[in-house]
Each structure stands twice: as C-alpha cells, then as structure tokens.
Amino acid sequence: MIRIENLNYAYKTGAKNQKQALVNINLEIADNSLTALIGHTGSGKSTLIRHLNGLIKPDSGKIFIDDTEITAPKADLRRVRFDVGLVFQYPEQQLFAETVYKDIAFGPENMKLGADEVKRRVYEAAEMVGLSEKPLEKSPFELSGGQKRRAAIAGVLAMKPKKLIMDEPAAGLDPRGREEIFALIKRLHKSGMTMLFTSHSMEDAAKTAERVIVMDKGKIFAEGSVAEIFARGGELRKIGLDAPQVTIIADKLRALGYDIPPVYTVEQMLLAIRKIIGGKNG
C-alpha cells in the first residue's frame, strides 16, 4: 500500500517565483491495484510520483510505503527504491552499459546480490518484457525504439520491486509499441505487482487501468474507478484532457436522446448500440 498524507511541495527556482507544484495531496493506493494517474503537462503528476521513492522530499506531509514512513528523517531510502520501482519518461535515454545484459544487471548489482542471483533476475526481467536471449548480448543502442524501452523497463523490474511506477510509459511510441507497453503493464499487474502509471491520455487510462486518479494544477481533481471517472468526461475535457473519440460520439448520441451510457472503449460502445438494436428487433 502507498499512502500519502497532506503532501505539499513547491519548486525552488531561486528567482523571485516559487511555483507550488503539489497542493495538499491525500491518496491511498492499494496493493495489487492498477492505477492510472492522468492530467495534462504541468498538473504535477511527474512531481508526485518522484516523491514515492524518496527522489524528492516534500515540503510538508507524510508518505508511507506499506508501514514505513519514507518521509521520516532517517528513512532507508535505498531500500525503499528497491521496493518501489520507478521507470522514468523515455527510460531508454538512461541506458548506458555495453550490453543490454549489463544494463539490466545494474539495479540488482546495486542491491549487492550474488552473481547467480543477478543472472537469474536479468533473464527473468528480460523474459517478462519479452526480450529474448539474443538481444541481451547486443549493445542497447542497436535495439529498435520499442525494444530499448522494454530493456530499460527490465532494468527496473530486475530489482523485483513490489510496486512499479511508470511515468508516461508509452510516450513517443507508435501504436504497436504502445499496445506492447500496455499489455506488459497488464501482465505485470496480473503477476501480483502494484502498478501505477501516468498518462495524459484518457484513452490509455480507460483501456488499461482499474482505478483512475486525475490531477489538475497540483491537486487531486478526481479519483475513482474507470467507470466513475469517465462518467465525468465533460469536466475532464475542461481541464485539458482529451476524451476518447467514442466517448464524444456516445455523448452526442445521448444528447440526441439515445439511451447510451458513458462509454470509453469501442467494445463498450458496440455493446450499447447492439443492445438498442436488439431491443428494436425484439
């Protein structure tokens, strides 16, 4: 479980302007959940997740990971970082080693694990992200864009975190690459990991997550199940999130008087329309 209590944070720019980035955040993220944190650029979502493994210290407020308060003065942040994996945006930009294998091994080696354990974890992590053995001996820079991203994610998975947080995991990928990443997120969630990812796409959140947290101007704007959140599509569009096209189509049909619930995937929309057709014929 991740619990955030009354968290506040302001950027210290040094110049005259201090920018309040996070305002009185209270949140709880349950174990084994799959949560999307959505909001437009500058809403504070990246800043918030960097707090969750102690990379940023809040100005005030507390963060608990399971029963450990990581904001306590003497918190063992290194251990926290092995429990809470954080994959940055464009993580492939952090690849550095001569081979993909060595890159993935970086995390486990920092944990001071034995050579056999490191090896076991590298292969396991590579398999999880769908990299076969062959690319492991290659230089990370020879891989394709999507492969690089998955290799970088494997580097975090190899630490076997209980919780994995990903910042804009699909940014910059083409549709096929996006699909692969979201399939991976779902797979990791099924394997028992607590997953949290940020996105500015309502569609990605709708397709992948169970719960959705919406941030706007450094505050929690809304929080709930996917259905609860997307029932409020109009409000979300007002704060600069773009709704899936089907949601807009459904809204317009509803305005015409059709009995169509708020939907956010093509499948749900088809179901709603077919139900009406069924009613008409039967």
Binding site: D174, R176, I249, D259, L270
Partner: protein, 273 residues
C-alpha cells in the same frame, strides 16, 4: 501545380538495408498531406529528402522543379520547403523567440527591414506575436513548436514539412499545433506535409499516404484509407475510433465523430430514444 516531385527514389544509410524503395510521389501546391507509418517505416527518411537534408541514392527529388542535388540552388530549395522537427528543444538556436525566427532570414542575408517584417509576420501567423521577446525555454511544448513553425515561415516557404513535430507534445500542444498548421494551409495557401503516427491528425489532411517498409502502400483521401480497417491494423497503425466503430457496425463513409453520430442515428432510426 506540383510543388514536389519524387521520382523513383531509393535510399539507404548502409549497404545492408534499404530504407526507401522506389518511391514515386507528387505533392500539389496548397494541399495538406499526411504521411503515416510506424516507427522505422522510412517516413522521416522520406521527409528529409523533401528539402535536400538527404539526397536520394537513386532517382530524383524536385522541389518547385529544382533537382535537390543542385547544390548551387540549395537556398532556393530549402527556403521553398521549410521543416519543423520532432524535439522542440533540439532545433532552437536562440534564447529569444524573435531571434530564433530571425535566424533563417539572417542566413539568407536579407536586409534588416525585411528580416524585421518577416519575423513580425511569421510570429503573427502562428499567433505568437506577444511572445516575441520571451525565451522559448519558458514556453509550453506547443508554443515552442509554434515558434519553430514561425522560424521556418521566415524563409517564406511554399511548403511546410512537419517531421513528427507533434510526437513529443501533450494533447493540448498537439491541438494547438494542428490548428496553427491548418490555418496556414487554409489562409496562407501553404502546402503542408505532416509526418505523424497519430491517426486523429492524419484524418484532418486532404490526403493520406501510408508508408511501410520503405514503400508507399496506400495513398488516398483519409476516408478511403481508413475505410480499410484491416489493412491499416495489419501495418501496426491505429484506426480512428469513429471509423473502427462504423466498420464493426457495417457502416460506410464514416471518418469523423459527427459522421459516426449521424450514421449510427440513421442505423438506429430513433429506436431507444
């Protein structure tokens, strides 16, 4: 009139693999074309042939009838086909917006008054005239890319090529940039070539060209291209949800959300209201 002519162009970076295979293509002046394809399809490599950043290994590219291999006319070629790139931070030379916009005009060796006029007009064309003295470092992604568009406009190009310029933007930034280039296409009669992997952007063009494995696999109106849902999917691309929905329901001629609403309304015929 044709502004761009691509004739039998093949290109490769190394002996091992061919990136572009025998591409033939013409672009009409004043048109708005989207070139789509997944990562590694060769779409960006093709775009870089349009202003002589890359030269074909075989075949030829003509900009306004000028062969891009004609080094003596490089300025003419490049100022006719302005280009905006993917990463807004990596294409900026200056620390102040108007200096950035002035850069190309300065390179062309224009008179000071003429540079001033072009800078002001370009900034106005992208709606950033109020930011002339601001630093792009403090701007949003969408604003930075609009400055980059203005920076290309300062060459008074007839054609604007956007090489995945929306890829690193958030939805707001993308919408901003799309609005800007559509306005330039409509009001200033600038030919637009948009390289993207966002289908909702491609839908807004007059013509969509799909590239896969270095070859043109489909070329037509967005309506025609996206009607073939299976083909687009097999290429690893998305189909706009409106088109996908229509396809599943067996409706034809649907591309936009509104068209989809009308078609579904017709299909249901008022039932369930």
């Amino acid at each position: 009139m044709k502004i761009l002519n691509v004739e039998n162009v093949s290109f490769s970076y190394s002996e091992k693999e061919t990136v572009l295979k025998d591409i033939n293509l013409t672009i009409e002046k004043g048109s708005f074309t989207a070139i789509i394809g997944c990562n590694g399809s060769g779409k960006s490599t093709l775009a870089k042939h349009f202003n002589a950043i890359l030269l074909p290994k075989s075949g030829a590219v003509y900009v306004k009838g000028i062969d891009t291999r004609d080094e003596k006319r490089l300025f003419e070629i490049r100022s006719a086909a302005g280009m905006v790139f993917q990463n807004p931070d990596n294409q900026m030379v200056a620390a102040i917006a108007e200096d950035e916009v002035a850069f190309a005009a300065e390179n062309l060796g224009l008179e000071r008054n003429e540079i001033r006029r072009r800078v002001d007009e370009s900034l106005r064309a992208v709606g950033m005239e109020e930011y002339a003295l601001e630093s792009p470092a403090h701007m949003s992604g969408g604003q930075k890319q609009r400055i980059a568009v203005a920076a290309a406009l300062a060459m008074e190009p007839e054609c604007l090529i956007l090489d995945e310029s929306t890829a690193m933007l958030d939805p707001q930034g993308r919408a901003e940039l799309m609005q800007t280039i559509k306005k330039l296409n409509r009001e200033n009669n600038i030919t637009v070539i948009l390289i993207t992997h966002y289908m909702d952007e491609a839908v807004q063009a007059d013509r969509v060209i799909v590239i896969d494995g270095g070859e043109i696999v489909t070329d037509g109106t967005p309506r025609a291209v996206f009607e073939d849902v299976e083909k687009i999917r097999s290429l690893g691309l998305d189909v706009p949800q409106a088109a996908e929905l229509a396809h599943e329901l067996g409706l034809t001629g649907v591309l936009t959300a509104d068209e989809c609403v009308n078609a579904v309304d017709k299909l249901l015929g008022g039932a369930g209201r």
